[in-house]
Amino acid sequence: MPISEYVGAVARSPTTSDVFNAVAEADRREILDALIAGEKAVGAIVTDLSMSQPQVSKHLRVLSEVGLVRCRAEGRRRLYRLEPARLRPLHEWLAKYERAWNDRLDRMDDYLAGLQRGERQ
């Protein structure tokens, strides 16, 4: 029951949906997790996650398009690193979600307090 209103309250703005969609895929989240420790070459990600190179490259392309990872060349190697600031829309979404929950529970709290004041009178 208490999940109710926030589904509406946390509707996401279209400008952020790309980042949401990019990280809605489990493999891509694993790639992001793998990059938390620091910059990595495609080959290292392939080894770490036991995904195929084409898979990893495809996911990295999607993540690059929404700015969640950035690529630089070092000789022949291409190194990818996380751009944590681009995760801000997700944090903002969570903050809205928290607000919606708090609003609901605060209303319940006020109602409970009123009931108890009424009972004491």
């Binding site: 029951m1 999940i3 589904v7 992001l32 996380l82 995760l87 529970l105 209303r107 319940m108 009931l115």
Partner: protein, 168 residues
């Protein structure tokens, strides 16, 4: 005078499928349970400000259904329904949860109450459906805009995993 607890809910995403919300109330456990499960109470606090409660039915027994509908000031109806799976007053209920506008976002909700020193702690756990059925859904008719709520939960829990150091 008890301290104001407004804004004190703690929301955690412990794994890919669960959302856990914890909140304390300065009230006895029986009263908190009633306020959560009796239509005459729920109808007083359930709808957000500016919204009007249109329906509030609760058949509080195993297999019984509940249905809540409120209307926003813009005229949009929000409907929530489900079926009780467990009912153990005043400590616990487990129920299915379906939001009318997005039937794919079904979840199982567990509400647990615990009282100590006059303070009742409510722990609500929402468990979204398993990944297999979710993925099946996504393949069936995936629409980018409607990227399901449970997916977003999923990704948030991954990104906010305490072992990670990702921050905005």
């Amino acid at each position: 005078m008890t301290p104001d607890r407004h804004g004190s809910a703690v929301i955690e995403l412990p794994n890919d499928l669960d959302v856990v919300v914890t909140r304390e109330f300065d009230a006895p456990i029986e009263l908190v349970f009633d306020v959560l499960t009796k239509p005459e109470h729920v109808s007083k606090w359930f709808a957000p400000r500016g919204c009007e409660m249109k329906e509030c039915s609760i058949d509080l027994r195993v297999g019984g259904n509940y249905h809540q509908v409120f209307v926003t000031d813009g005229g949009t109806e929000c409907s929530f329904r489900g079926t009780y799976l467990e009912v153990e007053p005043p400590t616990r209920t487990v129920e299915t949860w379906v939001f009318g506008g997005r039937p794919h976002l079904d979840a199982v909700e567990t509400v647990e109450l615990h009282e100590a020193h006059g303070v009742t702690t409510m722990t609500t756990t929402l468990t979204f459906r398993d990944k297999a059925s979710r993925d099946e859904d996504i393949q069936g008719g995936f629409d980018g805009v409607q990227t399901s709520f449970d997916q977003v939960e999923d990704l948030l829990s991954s990104l906010l995993d305490p072992r990670g150091t990702v921050s905005g």
